[in-house]
Symmetry: C2
């Protein structure tokens, strides 16, 4: 194992997994800590409460389609929502670099509140630390969240079966491309915006259909490929993806071609991947398509008997290729 922390340890790829397995798990091991879930689900006097945390270090802090404030609240709402929880309370802790503009801070705080309001959650507690100039890169935000898991929700990787269909609620990779377009060194422009948004409202439309929904994840760092690889790891099934069925913005594909990136690893901040019972997949797709945040929803693949533990892509021209987990991300500081 390496002796220092590298950027890739925070990428959501293989090195992140290794860090979790070698450093955090041996220490924090307890019944609630679930590596593959976006929130812990704890029991408080018989009530299932989802609890999650994320720190946001995105650069730049303002980007097409959002800002670090919107991102930090959306991200935590989404981590709760993909556990089937109703997001209820959010905390917000800021680390600010000395000299940061007060008007930018106001803009970010108002964006935080606006995003929270949209989903009906309250920012109930917070903290502010200020560090010296060059002690932090402008502003970092941590949000933690509490959500209530309704009794009818029963999600778990162990419920996934061969034949289950995989659904995504829209175009893949928009967030990474929007961030990329703002990095001066890359020098290109796109009209595309980040998909950064809370998706609880969309997910709440699954009420009444929870029996058919096996598992959900939001494909943020590491993208669709990263999340599916985490799910399939050491399992008795494989995943087949259909390239033709995966929705992309044209600009995303153009940027990926230009920069030699694979769009399946790009981050998303307003997307959910669902594993659903095959017979109900079309019904759930229809529910999603009827919602503004799910218009371009698509069934992108299915759970297959083998090769076990692998994700593979059936390409547009009919070939098969394994979609592995990356060792490091294609782009740091995207969230």
């Amino acid at each position: 194992m390496e002796k220092i922390i590298r950027l890739a340890h925070g990428s959501g790829g293989k090195l992140t997994q290794q860090l979790i397995r070698d450093v955090f798990f041996p220490c924090f091991n307890n019944q609630f800590l679930a590596p593959l879930d976006d929130s812990a689900v704890v029991n408080i006097d018989g009530i299932r409460v989802a609890f999650t945390t994320d720190s946001y270090v995105v650069k730049p802090i303002f980007f097409p389609g959002g800002d670090i404030g919107k991102l930090s609240v959306s991200g935590t709402i989404n981590d709760l929502a993909v556990m089937g929880a109703r997001p209820a309370f959010i905390s917000c802790s800021l680390i600010i670099e000395e000299g940061f503009s007060l008007s930018d801070l106001k803009r970010i705080v108002s964006s935080i509140q606006h995003t929270a309001e949209e989903t009906g959650v309250n920012i109930v507690t917070g903290d502010t630390k200020v560090v010296e100039k060059r002690g932090a890169d402008s502003i970092f935000i941590n949000t933690s969240g509490i959500g209530i898991v309704p009794a009818e929700v029963n999600l778990g990787i162990d419920r996934i079966r061969v034949g289950d269909k995989i659904i995504v609620n829209g175009t893949v990779g928009d967030h990474s491309v929007a961030i990329l377009s703002q990095r001066e060194e890359l020098g290109f422009e796109v009209s595309l915006e980040s998909d950064c948004a809370p998706i609880y409202d969309l997910i709440s439309k699954l009420n009444g259909n929870w029996d058919s929904v096996k598992f959900m994840r939001d494909p943020t760092r590491g993208g669709v490929a990263g999340v599916l690889n985490e799910i399939v790891q050491n399992r008795g099934f494989g995943i087949e993806l259909w390239e033709r069925s995966i929705p992309f913005q044209e600009e995303t594909l153009a940027v990926c071609e230009l920069l030699g990136m694979d769009p399946l690893y790009l981050a998303n901040e307003g997307k959910v991947i669902l594993f659903v019972e095959s017979e109900k997949a079309q019904d759930i797709l229809n529910i999603f398509k009827a919602h503004p945040m799910g218009k371009r929803s698509s069934i992108i693949g299915e759970v297959v008997a083998g090769p076990k533990g692998k994700v593979y892509l059936v390409t547009s021209i009919g070939t098969h290729r394994v979609v592995d987990m990356l060792v490091e991300d294609q782009l740091p500081r995207i969230c």
Copy 2:
């Protein structure tokens, strides 16, 4: 109002108050957000749940008596404990500078786990972000926590009455002095250690006496003076402190004299200030003194009719002086 964020905005003094009042409150205003409390108390299906968050940016990250890991867990446990809550679940989110030593990380993670275990709380969810070299100062840790408030606990500033006694569980200012002693530019050495520790076990000894306990706070940033000023602000009472009764380590007083600092503003990370019914003050003091973390507990003052909204100190030589809230802290990055 100033146009940029200064270090003092994170000091816990007047500028922090102003930031909260002018920027956060107008946005985040809701029934749960209580500026004076260390945690929000929310209601989940009839259960009172305390929820708190704090980011830790302490420098240096290893100091006499603790490290950023122990501090981050103690701080959140204490923020829950002073609400009368039993700390239950903690989240832990790291922002790490590229190049950080893996062995230091392991040491910190093990310190986090050790401190959590001591109080019987679980680290149930986490996150790791890595930023480029010089994008952050070594490591920042956010912990958020959930605690359960027992039915018999009824704490609130509105329960404070003239005549109530004020208790602290030991020597004041140890944490700041321990941090100070490690800052190279100051060039002095002390044998004193930070008081950094979880104090839930001590506070839990109040069970059976909650009727007599009106309000609690932990005097971290801003110190005893900062916390008491926050409590007294705009209230119909004042606070009288008795210099002779406030416990200090001798070294703390020596360092303060040397550097021209007032020990009442120094930060503490294992202390609680209690407002208790006068008739029960001695009983509660005895309970505290019987505990290893409360051996040097003392009744340090009382709530007085006036001057309203002010904290004043009766000095050892019998004079009175007002103890105001500082505009900026005497020392940044102490927690």
